[in-house]
Symmetry: C2
Amino acid sequence: MKKVKLRWREKEIEGLLIAKKGEYLEIKLKSGYNIMLNENEVEILKEEEFKRSYARGGEGKGEVRIIGCGGTIGSKVDYETGGVSPQISASELVAQYPEIKDIAGVETRMLFSILSENMRQEHWEKIVDEVAKAFEEEKRVVLLHGTDTMHYTASALAFAFRGMPSPVVLTGSQRSSDRPSSDARLNLLNAIYTSKQEFGEVAIVMHSSINDNEGVVLRGVRARKMHSTRRDAFKPINESPLAFVDFKKGIEWLSKPSKPVSDWKVENGFSRKVAMVYIYPGIEEGVFDYYKSYDGIVLLGTGMGHTPTDIIEKINEMKGIVVMSTQTIYGRINLNVYSTGRLLKKAGVIGHELDITPEAAFVKLSWILYRTKERQEVKRLFYTNMANEFSMRSVI
Amino acid sequence: MKKVKLRWREKEIEGLLIAKKGEYLEIKLKSGYNIMLNENEVEILKEEEFKRSYARGGEGKGEVRIIGCGGTIGSKVDYETGGVSPQISASELVAQYPEIKDIAGVETRMLFSILSENMRQEHWEKIVDEVAKAFEEEKRVVLLHGTDTMHYTASALAFAFRGMPSPVVLTGSQRSSDRPSSDARLNLLNAIYTSKQEFGEVAIVMHSSINDNEGVVLRGVRARKMHSTRRDAFKPINESPLAFVDFKKGIEWLSKPSKPVSDWKVENGFSRKVAMVYIYPGIEEGVFDYYKSYDGIVLLGTGMGHTPTDIIEKINEMKGIVVMSTQTIYGRINLNVYSTGRLLKKAGVIGHELDITPEAAFVKLSWILYRTKERQEVKRLFYTNMANEFSMRSVI
């Protein structure tokens, strides 16, 4: 991507050259809108290439490290196919939003550039290493990440760190950043602002509503993408948001996040042999055969955590650890109320009384099973509140 | 369960004898609260057994048939184990709530008595037959059903009928009906009231909020249990509620339900060979091997309907029909925006542009695949809006 100054029909225009499509140049204006200009009508006056990494902002102090992991916030429209694919580097993004300079000195690093539906344990581990490195260098961290699985990665970070010296803030966008309606700008600016606050947790910062005016700070391990397209897709599950944030006005805390600590530790590594299985009417026990060699599975049961009675025996035979979560998404597991729950509990299913999301349960189980497969120890760790991933009292 | 009149410490008490626990009798009072009385202090004055079926209410006209299918609304606490299991017959329930007489003449029929996590295609088919029979006999229908899978059964009914002569209203409760805090009473009364309205759709009537004062009428095929324990657990997905209902004050319609029709038809039958598969980071393609012999599967993809790129080839090889839905629950599938979606669409995955819930998609696919396995016809039927299960314009 290039920064350009050009003359078109007697006018001087400055902006970013986003793409060439046939004989048309697409230019992103400072207003955030894109225009298409016929190449033959344009005279380029000035052209400037961006540096690919470590574009420093602010007063030259790169106190916030922006780590690009791909996703829509780092994507642009492919004008050949009409689809969106990840291409813009983080440094280009920063150059695109000069307001960053008023918030923080930043530096950028492109870790990888993939759509978040392709993120998996190996990527979580690379991200954890990269964040640990940033912590060692006393940097604050903003992660640009695709929204599809942002809450999974946020959970991975939450479980991999025992204490944090400063926040890790994940942000992304629901519309690619070269579209006029993109939410990337506000999310990025609010995320950088939030990363400068004094707390020690993994947060997700996205739009608080469909209005383009305020961000919401969610505890990463308790957040979930709850809408496929809306800008305010991320919601806190079973708790309130941590804060609302407006980089121009400040941050308003609704609840107290964990304090930053100087004696933080990183414990990286996630088992690949963990699955999520959705329970549905008529599910056959044969479905579970594939998972025989697995370390663990998270069931998305119905209601308080149920399955059909006729598969409980099969669940009982599973060698791996079986965790119950609920497809209602909201609410708490209770395996004591109904006969089915009691049978599942007897079969060794864990998760009773927790209100952890299915996704956080999956990541937590994957983290635990990388360390131990000893049933009692897995159970003890799963019931240990490691990153505020569950609460023992429900918020209504 | 018996209706009893008894003397205890000089007082006359009327109520329902719910259980004996040791030397204590548990009596449900008209107030809805339960008391425990020592058997030795009690003199039974009058005792009356309930009839097991067709307990008529109102003016002797059984214009509303209450069909019991089990679930919490027909459950009571087992004082041996502390668990809840389905035992109370529908007629007992009606006798328990004499206010019913002011709303409608009712008759009850106990179809079966199972917890809803055990409901499957064969039960849907029996319920459909039973509802068709009630329609033939010009009855209105209220179904008592467990909440865990109420939205699956509601969808089954919605797809099995081409037009309805009157509503079918499903209701249930989140707390068993012999508990003082039970929501059964309000739900049952509001459901009966709603069944008397002039419309021809499957509705779910449950609490509209955690206050015990108003019901909400949801389109069954668009509703979903969104909390494991709250009384207002059921929410409409991607549309507004149909109405709010208070059996004492009336019904307030928010949107127009389908009109009742006299030339309704029933098309019963659901394929057993349909599954739901939840997509998660690192999901392996081997997971799909079990479903080789299946007629179809519904994926719960991420975001607008994505899976990791490396399993798309496997999906492409599936003999059965693959439908995409989203684990965000809310929002629309769009397989045109990102490269992953476009690859999935190319692999023959259907569901693009629909905002149907994963559960309704599962039931619809099961209904379609019972009738045809011809790919183009399945696709045509899936994209046909049969019961308002999707909309083409999003409600924000």
